[in-house]
Structure formats: structure tokens, C-alpha cells
């Protein structure tokens, strides 16, 4: 069966290859053809210079591992979106309906994100005559997972276009971008269309007219909620009253962005990335340490209820909002992170620290991790510069 399929596929590519190679009718679209062919067949390219044996890893495998690690939050996100959609609509909650409802909400976002993004990728590859890079497979999935499920599809297209073109291609394409393209896209939407990206009414996809009867609280994320009720003594008690125990926040069964609610799924993803060595454990652990230490220190010096987020149990910071998703999948993007080892610790640490600082001192702006990562992306080359200077000064010169 598979052999038959393989044979037919081989024949198909062999037949169409002349049209796309030099002198063929569609030579312009060679990058597209090449991308398509190499998805099916890893080409046999012999090594021309030493070493004559090469590692079995390539960028396709590298990015596939990231996609694999994204699966737990994606599946949970689909379930969670469907669950809250049905819950708010007052429908009965059987598993099958939940999944269908979730798929109907989430899949269009992903399809539009991939579609619009690939359009730009292909356009730039054809004009620049370079192969289509695998990095977008990750960007195109990361971006919709950071969005609220109610975001209009045209905004997804606009956002990913901004992310790919301004976030990546204007710098020269994959490997040369300063910012994480998926986060650039999200930041653009966040500031261009704040009404659709924040507040309390965007986090649950209403599926029918019963939505009018829903009160605002059921649709608010725990983070957004903390800005709504300053009357509570502590955020902990308030979250507790709303039913958000630490465990529930960890599991992630609450309204929020599609992929970002479940710290547990992000933890599974983090384990996959760290065990395979695809993402840097230094960044992830550094980020967690930065978050916990900063929030602990702020808790020591703060006075209630001036800064309600300051004296919360540090673990809440870890599980609330998009921090887990951001530090595991966004901050570890190797292109926009520093490339030296000690810098990675600092880079992660500062992301965690800034996330807490933004949450504590800017209550109107509860989700800090996006800005923290983008801000540290900007500093990544500086971190590298300093560490390389330091290392070079330790070397015995050889000129």
C-alpha cells in the first residue's frame, strides 16, 4: 500500500520536475515545487566536502519536533475552546460535541494563518529565488494559538501577514529576523485591534444567541478578571471565589487564548523540547526562575492592596495567563534568542522578571509575557555581544 503510494508519488515528481527546473515553463515556481517535493522525499544529496557522514537531523526534523511539542496545547486548546463555547451557550457538554465545536472555532484560524502566511513565504521565495524555509510551519501554528477564539478571520490574515513580512522577510528571511515573527504578529493585532484582543468578552466563542444571557465574568480570563475587581482583598481569594484554584489554573480549563491556558500541556511540550534538545532548557528554566524570584521578592516588599499582583503566591504567576506558553514556545525560538549559553540564562531570567514587573506595576495591562519576550528579543544580540567579548578576553590569543 505504502509502496504503491511511494512509487506513484515518485513518478509524479519525476514527471513534473522538468517543468520546474531551469528552462522549464514554471521555473519561477521552483521553490514551491522543491518545498512540495522535499516534504515527501528527503532528497539524496551526496556530501561534496568533508565530513562525508552527516547528522540525520535537518531543519524539517527540527521543526517537526517543535510541531510535535505544540500538539498537547493545541489539542487541549481545541477541547477547551469547545467546552467554554458550549458551556456559555447552555448546551449539554458531551465530549464529541465539545471537540466538534472546538474544531469549528479553531481550525479556521489555523487554516487562515497558514494560508495567508504561506502566500507571503512563497512570494518572497519566488522573488528572492531561495528555498522555502521550514520555520514558517511553526510560526503559522504558534500565532493562532496565542489568539482569543473569537478573533475575526480577516484579522488573523492581517496579523500573520504583518508577522511574516515585517517581522521576518524585511530583515532577509529566516535566520535573520530580530523578533519572533509569531509574537510580532500578535503584538500587531494587540495594538491595532485592542477590542478584539483583550477585555472580557473575547475569550469565549459564543456559538448561538443564548450568548446574550451570559454574564461577563464567565468569559473573563483569570488575568483579565484581576483587573476588574479591585474590591477583593487579595487576588488569591478572588480567584478562589471565582473557582480558579491553583490546580484548575495549572490544568488550564478556563477561558483564554487557544493554546495558552494550560500550563500542564506547556509542561509536556517543554519536556519534549528539552529531552530532544531542540529548545534550550537554559531559557525555560531561567524564565521560570526569573518569574518566581521576582514575584517572591516583590511579595516581600509590597503592601496590600496597593499592587494586588505583588503579594500573590509566586506559583500563580507561573500558571496564570500565557507565561508558560510564551517561555516554552516563543522565548526558545533560537533565531531571536541569544546563541551563547550563559546569555540564555539571563535572557530567560529577564523575560520572567519583566513579565512579573508588567503584571504588578501595570494592572491595566495584565498580560506581560508577550511584551517581555519581544523586549528581550531586542536585547538578545547585546547579550551575545557581551558574552562573546567576555569569552574572547579569556582566550589565549592565537593570531
Amino acid at each position: 500500500m505504502l509502496n504503491q503510494f511511494e512509487k506513484r508519488l515518485r513518478r509524479f515528481f519525476e514527471k513534473s520536475s522538468p517543468h520546474f527546473s531551469k528552462g522549464g515553463r514554471f521555473f519561477k515556481f521552483h521553490p514551491l515545487f522543491e518545498a512540495l517535493e522535499t516534504i515527501f522525499f528527503t532528497p539524496a544529496i551526496p556530501a561534496r566536502c568533508p565530513p562525508f557522514v552527516r547528522d540525520g537531523i535537518d531543519l524539517k526534523r527540527f521543526m517537526s519536533i517543535v510541531l510535535l511539542a505544540l500538539m498537547p496545547p493545541l489539542f487541549f486548546g481545541i477541547y477547551n475552546t469547545g467546552y467554554h463555547s458550549l458551556l456559555s451557550a447552555g448546551n449539554n457538554l458531551n465530549f464529541f460535541d465539545i471537540i466538534i465545536s472546538g474544531l469549528l472555532t479553531v481550525m479556521p484560524l489555523i487554516i487562515v494563518s497558514y494560508g495567508a502566511g504561506f502566500f507571503w513565504e512563497i512570494l518572497f521565495s519566488v522573488i528572492r529565488k531561495h528555498p522555502i524555509s521550514e520555520g514558517f510551519l511553526v510560526t503559522g501554528l504558534l500565532f493562532p494559538m496565542t489568539l482569543p477564539p473569537t478573533v475575526p478571520l480577516w484579522q488573523v490574515a492581517v496579523g500573520i501577514s504583518f508577522g511574516v513580512v515585517i517581522g521576518k522577510e524585511v530583515f532577509g528571511g529566516t535566520g535573520r529576523n530580530i523578533f519572533n515573527p509569531a509574537l510580532t504578529a500578535r503584538a500587531f493585532l494587540f495594538f491595532a485591534y485592542p477590542a478584539k484582543m483583550s477585555g472580557d468578552r473575547v475569550w469565549v466563542a459564543f456559538s448561538d444567541t443564548a450568548s446574550n444571557a451570559i454574564n461577563a465574568v464567565s468569559g473573563a480570563t483569570p488575568l483579565a478578571m484581576t483587573t476588574l475587581f479591585p474590591s477583593f482583598k487579595t487576588i488569591e481569594s478572588m480567584l478562589h471565589n471565582a473557582g480558579f484554584t491553583l490546580f484548575k489554573l495549572f490544568m488550564g480549563n478556563y477561558p483564554g487564548s487557544i493554546g495558552g491556558t494550560s500550563a500542564m500541556c506547556c509542561l509536556i511540550g517543554a519536556l519534549i523540547l528539552i529531552i530532544t534538545g531542540v529548545a534550550s532548557y537554559r531559557i525555560i528554566l531561567g524564565g521560570v526562575a526569573g518569574l518566581l524570584i521576582t514575584s517572591f521578592l516583590l511579595g516581600m516588599v509590597s503592601t496590600t492592596p496597593l499592587n494586588p499582583w505583588a503579594d500573590i503566591n509566586p506559583l500563580y504567576h507561573l500558571v496564570v495567563g500565557g507565561f508558560a506558553f510564551g517561555i516554552v514556545y516563543m522565548a526558545t525560538d533560537p533565531v531571536s534568542a541569544p546563541g551563547t549559553n550563559t546569555s540564555k540564562w539571563f535572557y530567560g531570567f529577564f523575560i520572567g522578571m519583566l513579565t512579573v514587573v508588567i503584571r504588578v506595576f501595570n494592572p491595566a495591562y495584565p498580560e506581560g509575557v508577550m511584551m517581555a519576550i519581544l523586549f528581550m528579543n531586542l536585547f538578545a544580540p547585546l547579550f551575545d555581544f557581551i558574552e562573546i567579548r567576555f569569552r574572547v578576553s579569556k582566550r589565549i590569543p592565537n593570531v
Binding site: L2, E6, L9, T38, F40, F41, T42, P43, A44, I45, P46, A47, R48, C49, P50, P51, F52, V53, R54, D55, G56, I57, D58, L59, K60, R61, F62, S64, I65, P131, S133, E134, G135, G173, T174, G175, R176, I275, T276, G277, V278, S280, P334, V335, A337, G339, T340, N341, D384, I388, R391, V392, R395, I396, P397, N398, V399
Partner: protein
């Protein structure tokens, strides 16, 4: 004895490690001197096609230092002199006589060796064709006899299991080895003898004279790596080095007064039955090394190790420096959904393949396992680089023509091991790029020296 441990690098996981068994492979009809792998030498030919030569007759000399001679590895008639691209001399092929005779050089007795003048010893090694085996870091050129280095590094054994095993080539040769070491002591004050420890505990050769015990991953045994991890000051960068097997030849040359042409070559074709050590001679035709039954098409002949060697053909000859020959499968078939396969048989330094779970050796081929892509700064190369030069940044410096910056990052410490290219998921020819930059730099500074 000092212990040098190299943590970075890569542990070989390739099938077909040559067994310690020795088989004889005499030359059939021809041997040759391969010139184009002699580093930075401009040859002036002293023979013509048709000339008669003995083993140890002068074939050519270096135009820049005419005292530096290169000698014939065979006795017979010069059959052919071939040129490569740009008329660079490639090979001098010698059709062997049935009865081979040696040129006779002056013998050095044990007693005389301790009295001998350094200059006199250097001159006799140069005239005797042995000097090219003493080489100098960081460019790995033939050692400059006018310089006085801090030390000479002798490497015994290799972290690359496809190089000859020191136990094998030292067998019955310890006398010559120790004589060679004594000769080196006359050249340089300090002689470091670095033994790579494959099987810790075994310590049955030249035990008294070993100064450094090397443990760790490939390329731990490379003199450049050992030097990097033990140097204290910048003047040590120009230290000399010599391979353990060449020290034996050095001793043999001085003791017997003949040009030593016998070589122990590690041979592997990936199978257990055929991979072993071969007792053969300098400049052997590669075809003569393998029995005809295992010479198959679609195979790649790699000389000098799979990570840092070069591609050759079965009709080429072994160059004077190399003692390792491998035959590996040529890549020939594209793989359906290669990137999502679990990779039980895929060789990788990363943990993205299932074979990472076991240390069982795996078969190899010459496939790139992917296409070239932009650098994504994953840092895999920096994680394996044995001399900490952060190849991804150094390579970008060279790309931007910032050679000073690249030198500050340690470009000249590069030991040309090839690991950065090996691990790169973007399939960038990183080591090739760094080595070429090094050679360009060498050319540049030498031009400056010559013009002054």
C-alpha cells in the same frame, strides 16, 4: 603524567571499526607520491618520466626551501607525472621493479645521537625526506626548521576509531619509537607524548615516556585540541606535532639509514569481516588495499577519516600523511517522509532520533540528510566544538569579511575536525568555510613576509 579530558566533541557510533588483526597488502605494480596534499609546498621536480629511481631517491624539492626534499616510495621507473586543476602537480607514479633497492643514508648510533648538533640532525632529516612529517600548528604546515617551538606533541592513537590503533603499530617497534623520541628531544627541548586512552587500564607500550593521557570524545587526540586545553601562553601556538607512527619511521630512518616506506593502514568497508589493519607501504594504490571481491560501484573511498579526510577513488594512491582508508555507501535514494521517521538507523549527535537511546554503532552513507538552509543559531556546532570557537559566530564574521574578529574568536585554534559541519541541521559547510579562511589567511601573511 597529566590527564587531559575533552568533554565536547562526538563519540563515534559507526559500524566497521577496524579490528587489531593485521593483514599484508604488498604493492602490486605501481606506487606513487601524492603531492597535492602536502601543505603549502611549491614543488620543483627533479625527475622526469622514464628516470630510474631507488627507494629514497629524491623526486622533488620545495622551491622556497630547496633543502627540503621529498623522496621516492618505490624503486623502479617513473611511469607518469600527473597534474590536477591549474597544472598543480598531482602524483608521481612509479612502476615497481621486481627487485627493489634502497638509497643508503648515514646511520646514527645511539651514542652519536646524544652528541649530534641540532642543525646537523635537521639537515639530515631534510635530506632524508623525513622532515615533512614534523608539522607545525596552527596552519599544519611542514615545521619551520628556523623556529624553536616550546614543545613537540606526539600523538599515540586516535579518538577516531578508524585511524590505526597505537597498540598495533607499536607492536615490535617500540625500540624505533623510543629512538625517534630521543631524536625529537635533540630538536626541541620538550617532547609531549600524548596517548589517547581508548581502553583505560591497558598500558603496555612506551609507558615510561608518556606524558599526557587523553580521554574524551573525538577529536580529543588531535594535537591541536590537546594544545588548546593545556597551553598557558600565546607563544605555544606555534608548537610542532608529529604522529606516533611517523616517530617510528623517524627512529627507523636514523637507525637503519634507509627511507622507511612500510605503513600500518586502518581499513574499513563497514563490515566486520574486512575491517582490519593492513601492513602495507607508502603510496600504495588504493585498489590494492581491498580484495577485488569487495570493490563495488556506488561506493565512496574516503582517505584520512570520515570526518576530516577527503574523497578519493580506487585508482588513486595513498598520500604520505594518511593512514586510514574507508569505503562507505554513496547516497543514492531519496527517502519518503524522511524527516518524520523515528530514525532507528539514523546517525545523529542530537536527541531527535530514536537511535540516540542506544550506543550501538550504525551504518553510514554519504547523504547530507537534508538541504542547505539559513543558519538558525541553534548552537549545535558550539556544543561540539572541541576548542570553543563558537563556529556559528566565527563563520558569520568571515562571511562579513571581519577576519580580525574571526581571529579573536579563535579561528586559528580550529583543529579542522569537521564536527561543526557534521552536526549542522541547516547543512551549512561550516568547517570547510573555516578551513578555507585559515588557508587564505596563511597565504596572506606569507605574502606579506615575502614582500618585506
Amino acid at each position: 603524567m597529566k590527564t587531559v579530558k575533552i568533554k565536547k566533541g562526538w563519540q563515534f557510533k559507526i559500524v566497521g571499526k577496524p579490528s587489531p588483526r593485521i593483514e599484508n597488502r604488498p604493492a602490486m605494480t605501481h606506487v606513487a607520491f601524492v603531492l597535492d596534499k602536502i601543505p603549502f609546498v611549491k614543488p620543483r621536480l627533479l625527475v622526469q618520466v622514464g628516470n630510474k629511481v631507488k627507494i629514497g631517491s629524491v623526486l622533488f624539492e620545495d622551491k622556497k626551501h630547496p633543502v627540503l626534499k621529498f623522496l621516492s616510495p618505490g624503486c623502479g621507473t617513473i611511469k607518469d607525472i600527473t597534474y590536477g586543476p591549474r597544472r598543480v602537480l598531482h602524483e608521481i607514479v612509479i612502476a615497481l621493479d621486481s627487485d627493489e633497492t634502497f638509497e643508503i643514508f648515514e646511520k646514527v648510533t645511539e651514542l652519536a645521537l646524544d652528541q649530534i648538533k641540532r642543525r646537523f640532525l635537521i639537515d639530515s632529516l631534510m635530506a632524508g625526506g623525513m622532515w615533512p612529517f614534523v608539522r607545525q600548528l596552527p596552519f599544519r604546515q611542514i615545521a619551520n626548521p628556523d623556529s624553536l617551538p616550546n614543545a613537540v606533541w606526539v600523538s599515540l592513537g586516535s579518538a577516531d576509531p578508524f585511524q590505526p590503533n597505537a597498540h598495533v603499530y607499536l607492536n615490535h617497534q617500540v625500540d624505533f619509537f623510543e629512538f625517534g623520541i630521543r631524536a625529537l628531544h635533540r630538536l626541541v627541548n620538550t617532547v609531549h607524548i600524548c596517548r589517547y586512552d581508548e581502553t583505560p587500564g591497558k598500558n603496555n607500550f612506551a609507558a615510561s615516556s608518556v606524558t599526557h593521557r587523553i580521554i574524551g570524545n573525538y577529536p580529543a587526540s588531535d594535537p591541536g585540541v590537546v594544545l588548546y586545553h593545556s597551553k598557558k601562553k600565546a607563544s605555544e601556538n606555534q608548537d610542532w606535532y608529529i604522529d606516533g607512527q611517523d616517530v617510528i619511521h623517524l627512529g627507523k630512518f636514523l637507525k637503519t639509514g634507509t627511507y622507511p616506506i612500510d605503513r600500518i593502514v586502518a581499513f574499513s568497508d563497514g563490515s566486520f569481516a574486512n575491517s582490519c589493519h593492513l601492513s602495507t607501504r607508502m603510496g600504495i594504490l588504493l585498489k590494492d588495499l581491498a580484495s577485488p571481491s569487495i570493490i563495488a560501484p556506488h561506493k565512496r573511498w574516503v582517505v584520512g577519516g570520515v570526518l576530516s579526510g577527503y574523497t578519493s577513488t580506487r585508482d588513486a594512491f595513498l598520500d604520505p600523511y594518511q593512514t586510514s582508508v574507508m569505503i562507505i555507501d554513496e547516497s543514492n535514494k531519496s527517502e519518503l517522509f524522511g524527516f518524520v521517521r523515528p530514525g532507528l538507523k539514523k546517525i545523529s549527535n542530537s536527541r531527535t532520533v530514536l537511535s540516540a537511546l542506544s550506543s550501538a554503532p550504525l551504518p553510514i552513507n554519504t547523504d547530507m540528510h537534508g538541504e542547505e538552509r539559513p543558519c538558525i543559531n541553534c548552537g549545535y556546532c558550539a556544543a561540539v566544538c572541541p576548542v570553543d570557537i563558537m563556529p556559528q559566530f566565527t563563520y558569520k564574521c568571515i562571511y562579513a569579511d571581519e577576519i580580525e574578529e574571526a581571529l579573536a574568536y579563535g579561528l586559528l585554534d580550529c583543529v579542522e575536525c569537521g564536527l561543526c559541519s557534521f552536526v549542522c541541521p541547516s547543512k551549512i559547510e561550516m568547517s570547510d568555510f573555516l578551513i578555507k579562511a585559515k588557508h587564505r589567511y596563511h597565504k596572506e601573511i606569507n605574502q606579506v613576509v615575502e614582500s618585506v
